[in-house]
Symmetry: C2
Subunit: 442 residues, 2 copies
């Protein structure tokens, strides 16, 4: 689909290459540690970190062949840098949290230690590859919390920013707690359960809605879900009941109806009553159509009789927060801790560790060299070309589920709207930061 | 990078295949016309349509090989449908507006006429491939309007939802009116001008900011832009002036400084005064750091002395509206016009044409069979496997620029916040809609 067969070394910004030119000219190739973390963000007390395995994959493909080097030459990149890029092969060490781990603002998801120009040129791709999976896994977890145990299905393939991105979204959503997807490529590639029945076009292609429902039920007797809102939802439920009666007479069973527009609270209650009155108490009601984390929470809170939710846009673009403010900052160069003091964007110096004691609300951010109470969240996952921890979808999913269920109650509120909590800071880290010039106050 | 070498036929949702099964069982393979349009949307009085060429590319690659068919068999797709998919090759006709055309709500960007199951199974990919380029081209045009003639640079590669999506964003942004990009892959692939100088890490990697500035100016004397906000912006401007003086003594010239944080209005004025007082009136000021269409408009309105803007997130995720409500609706089946009456999602029946008279505010939406005053916007672009109009980046860019400059003044306001205007409707279309059951009122 993409037609992209080039190695990935141009997945970077020009300034990275300009800096590499200077680093190489000046022999500045000592080890540098860059720390990737999310800046504290309103509406997201925590993030489900995901995407480290994509970064490790990228370390395998981030290379430069003749077409890439020719292009760089054409924009004035100098010969020694082109030679260096021609034999580019990342070395060093990546520390990271496990996929599906909950992190707060300032807590590193990943730290890369490599010769300065190596770690520098990877910046753009590393940030890109962590951001999107993390956004969607987090949004999925929040939607699943809002749905309070009811299944949630990913309907977002058409709304994602690109086709590959739609597949990546389905994976991240599943790890974050979404039950199934409509996305066939994601089903094939990752084994995620796939579901789906009919669109409005199906109903319209038949002379009448009832004929469309009968046809579908005959062709797909297992798991039939009839879409009832093409013309008029109440009339659609009547037609669904006719088909449910016919199926029952034939010893079969209508699985459910789906309402995709209108006042879902009111319509689901009306539909539930009609179905129950007709003796179809076991026919489920699925809702979809522009649903979000917040609207699902409201429907659940009001007790709307909805058994499952289909979510598209809000899930796959993380609609209310479609970007995370991810930093990838130099924290050590050649053994010297460094920091940045830009207004509102200050960084802590030094390679770090996060110590988790009970739940994330008691986290302490310290130096990697420290031993403090609690579980250290970051571990080595890659060294000199070798992946030390293979990606395990089921483990990530389980880790995420456990982490979300262990969150403090106040952090499980869907429409939570206060600044991201930040971890406590160890004495050693605070002292190091203070010894430079200034440091960010939680 | 993607490792995706499969044909693209699974870039669809399961329900499309379930519907295809029924269509094939029942011989419902007559021609269907689906119409793709954006539903009226607040904050976007118009959209710059883009992505049709991606759809035409997808028609070439949307196929099923053994792994795809094996997967579909594993989820219960029946044999006749698998046989049909095995020889899938889209036929029919695509009508579309030219890339870079301005459209209003309800105005079709694309209409596909093909055997019903063919047009149905393509739905997910078609919506996906139009949405993202259209969102970003539109946002780019709005940012360029806000910048009022000052150059805007795409800094968004790291913030896009995926690496390929970052490249697609750079292309769409350039067509929409963004001058240059930091994105090297987009530069190589599409010939978009690339720019970039240094990140904060560069400054931090040297013992002092002044040493970093001197090194960069020595290594890259042409087009040097110094990033002045790593530690303290005013002190950074002082250091930049030291380097500008040194460059001038050596017969060279500092191109500019970049401020990436803080109060950009206040800091740009302070920096401008310092530079002017030092005799460097020709050293430019570039601003970046979380800039948006709205914040740029405010800076320009206040007269902040900023010569160029770098924009990331707001541009490449269309931050304030990261999804468009795109419909792909059946409007004709087997010669019979059809419509949908769902609450707030009603559709007009029939294959359509848009007649543009003076500017988009006087558009009339009519039937394709009508001849009305004005320029018809939709034309055949693909027929039975043949692309009839090749994608031309420069033409699309010029078309977009002309269209945006011809917009009514009220539609050029950046923070515009009223419903998307909708076109007038021809008498014939209104009569056809009324003859069905109900129709959407503009």
């Amino acid at each position: 689909m993409t037609g992209h067969t080039h190695p990935a070394g141009l997945h970077t910004d020009l300034y990275e290459i300009r800096m590499v030119e200077s680093y190489l000219r000046r022999g500045m190739t000592a080890p540098a540690t860059f720390s990737l973390y999310i800046r504290p963000t309103v509406d997201r007390p925590w993030f489900l970190a995901l995407g480290v395995h994509r970064v490790l994959e990228a370390l395998e493909t981030f290379r430069y062949d003749a077409p890439e080097l020719d292009y760089l030459r054409s924009v004035g990149v100098e010969a020694p840098t082109l030679d260096w890029l021609a034999s580019f092969e990342p070395s060093g060490e990546v520390w990271a949290v496990a996929e599906g781990t909950i992190v707060l603002g300032h807590e590193p998801i990943l730290e890369m230690t490599a010769p300065l120009p190596v770690a520098q040129v990877l910046e753009t791709a590393v940030i890109n590859l962590i951001q999107f999976p993390t956004l969607v896994a987090t949004k999925a977890a929040r939607i699943a919390l809002a749905a309070a145990g009811r299944p949630v299905v990913d309907f977002g393939f058409r709304r994602a920013h690109g086709l590959e991105t739609g597949v990546e979204a389905a994976l991240a959503a599943h790890i974050g707690g979404v039950t199934a997807t409509s996305n066939l490529e994601a089903g094939r590639r990752y084994g995620i359960p796939v579901v789906g029945t009919m669109a409005h076009a199906f109903v319209q292609a038949f002379p009448t809605e009832l004929e469309a429902f009968r046809a579908y039920a005959e062709d797909h007797p297992d798991g039939t879900i009839l879409l009832v809102d093409t013309y008029d939802t109440v009339a659609g439920v009547h037609n669904a009941i006719v088909v449910a009666d016919e199926m029952r007479s034939a010893g079969r069973h209508l699985r459910g109806i789906r309402i995709d527009s209108g006042d879902l609270d009111e319509l689901s209650r009306a539909a539930r009553k009609m179905l129950d009155d007709a003796g179809h108490t076991d026919v489920q009601i699925m809702a979809s159509g522009g649903l979000s984390e917040v609207s699902i929470a409201v429907l659940v809170e009001r007790g709307a009789p909805i058994d499952a939710f289909g979510v598209g846009t809000d899930l796959v673009v993380s609609m209310d927060r479609p970007a995370a403010d991810i930093a990838y900052k130099l924290v050590v160069y050649d053994g010297r801790p460094v920091a940045k003091f830009s207004v509102d964007k200050a960084t802590y110096p030094g390679a770090k560790q996060v110590f988790r004691r009970t739940d994330p609300s008691a986290d302490v951010l310290g130096l990697r060299s420290e031993s403090l109470p609690g579980e250290p969240l970051l571990a080595v996952v890659w060294r000199d070309g070798n992946v030390l921890t293979a990606f395990d979808l089921d483990a990530a999913k389980q880790r995420a589920a456990d982490a979300v269920s262990a969150l403090p109650t106040a952090w499980k509120v869907p429409a939570y709207a206060s600044p991201t909590p930040v971890p406590g800071v160890s004495d050693a880290l605070r002292a190091l930061a203070g010894s430079l010039r200034s440091y960010p106050d939680g």
